[in-house]
């Protein structure tokens, strides 16, 4: 690997800055009331507020991965449908 120290430093500083920001934000969360109280959670069970599509998403991703080179990478298998 020929990466020198000067090319590493900016990335390290970015990670450090991100970590500090994360800490500040999360530290702030500790003191701030949450945006939703337990009795306000009824709508959160609605499908409109769910991001997990389960097996439906899996088939669609398989379809996209075999046709779009910038999709996939999730370890989908290929072969017959040229999905790798």
């Amino acid at each position: 690997m020929s990466m020198d120290a000067s090319s590493r430093r900016p990335r390290g500083l970015v990670v450090l800055a991100a970590a500090l920001m994360c800490g500040l934000v999360l530290g702030g969360c500790a003191q701030t009331p949450p945006p939703v109280r337990p009795w306000q959670r009824g709508y959160l069970a609605k499908r409109a507020l769910q991001f997990n599509d389960g097996l439906e998403a899996r088939f669609r991703q398989h379809m996209f991965a075999s046709r779009e080179g910038a999709e996939g990478g999730y370890g989908f298998v290929g072969g017959g449908c040229g999905c790798n």
């Binding site: 450090l16 991100a18 970590a19 800490g23 999360l26 046709r67 779009e68 910038a70 017959g80």
Partner: protein, 400 residues
């Protein structure tokens, strides 16, 4: 010892994660006892896939849970993707199964692990991975980390065995912003090595595709969802940005970028019936090594020089624009409740059916004609005027 900024950042990040205050009094496992059966039918002009599948999950004592799925892909194809002439139909069956285990600790941390295996005559694949998620900020946020590895063995007909590996790491954060609003952000990195080419397609002069055998892929995703109680409807917006490179410091022959936007509208038609309309748009640019050598798509067969280090006729590495429009109906079968016997059991389930059309502007999206159009949906007007595919899915999910 001198602490490097990157290492100091990692330590601070870890401390921040570990020090998040948790006020959840009754953490619950997100997994429920449920069985789901699904079927999918995919039809392009030259390729047909029929896929039955089943998925189950079960909670176990001590905060543990288990699950798995099994599916069969029955593929018939004579497409360019397989490198065969249209009069020689390619048939193949693929079997896939997975097992997953999880445990939710009293502090709402959830640890999960899974294994997945897939087999078909010319392709075996093993994938294993793990994840950790933790609810934060009085259970209004979820932070997650995941990692997985895939090890594939590819043995194309008449060719030697090849290997392919993918190592994945991802981080995600989901936050409830209000009683009807949530957002999520994800960042995923895939390190792909080995045989990345499609084994079944060839250039007329240069032979089998030769694609770089290392690829580092990045995807950043943001999602937002809002529910509007006054009109009993919800809206979701997803955006994904993708880029790839040969290594962290070198774009190399890759350099693909893509933007994908998806919008979903959910509408409650009644207490038990929901309609979902989706639209997805995907725009990608070609890999640096790729050129369009398909005269049928406006390319030149001689665009690759003789002796080119890399070459591919696979349109998925080229410029592409795709659209997906989908409609889906979901029926919660509550009306069976109170009828007694097995009907009461079915009352907790939901049935769904969806139809989507996948518009493609590459050679994968061949136009349907009288000889290859599927029955009924093949007569829909957009199937004859635009290249693409029909996708029909249906399923029933039942808690037990």
């Amino acid at each position: 010892m001198r602490l490097r900024p990157a290492r100091a950042g990692a330590v601070l990040l870890w401390l921040a994660v570990c020090s998040w205050p948790l006020h959840a009094a009754h953490p619950q496992s997100p997994i429920e006892d449920r069985i789901t059966v699904r079927g999918a039918y995919f039809r392009e002009a030259s390729t047909r896939v029929i896929q039955p599948m089943m998925e189950a999950s079960k909670t176990l004592p001590w905060g543990m849970d288990a699950g798995g799925h099994f599916l069969v892909d029955a593929i018939s194809s004579a497409s360019v993707a397989q490198g065969v002439m249209t009069d020689k139909v390619f048939r193949e069956t693929r079997y896939e199964g997975s097992l997953q285990l999880g445990i939710t600790l009293p502090d709402t941390t959830r640890l999960g692990a899974f294994y997945r295996y897939s087999t078909e005559p010319d392709y075996k694949s093993h994938t294993a991975g793990g994840s950790v998620t933790r609810e934060v900020w009085q259970r209004t946020g979820v932070v997650g980390l995941a990692a997985a590895g895939t090890w594939d063995s590819v043995r194309p007909h008449g060719q030697t065995r090849k290997s392919h590996e993918v190592y994945f790491v991802g981080a995600s954060y989901l936050q409830v912003l209000g009683p009807t609003t949530i957002v999520q952000g994800l960042y995923e990195v895939f390190n792909q090595r080995g045989f990345i080419s499609n084994p079944y397609i060839s250039h007329a002069n240069l032979g089998r595709d030769v694609v770089p055998n290392r690829r580092l892929r990045h995807a950043a995703v943001v999602k937002g969802a809002q529910y509007f109680p006054s009109v009993t409807a919800g809206l979701q917006l997803h955006y994904r940005f993708y880029f790839d490179q040969k290594s962290l410091t070198n774009t190399g022959p890759w350099g693909m970028t893509a933007h994908t936007v998806e919008a979903r509208v959910h509408k409650d038609l009644s207490r038990d019936v929901e309609l979902r309309l989706d639209y997805r748009f995907h725009l990608q640019n070609a890999a640096r090594f790729w050129c369009n050598s398909d005269p049928g798509q406006g390319g030149e067969i001689g665009c690759y020089p003789m002796g080119a280090t890399y070459h591919s006729v696979d349109p998925k590495f080229g410029d592409a624009t795709t659209h997906v429009a989908q409609g889906k109906l979901i029926w919660d079968t509550r009306l069976f409740g109170g009828l007694g016997g097995a009907f009461d059991l079915l009352a907790g389930g939901s049935f769904e059916v969806s139809y989507a059309y996948y518009f493609e502007n590459t050679s994968y999206g061949m136009l349907f004609n009288d000889s290859n159009a599927p029955p009924v949906v093949g007569d829909l007007p957009w199937g004859r005027s635009h290249g693409g595919a029909h996708l029909i899915q249906t399923g029933y999910s039942l808690p037990f």
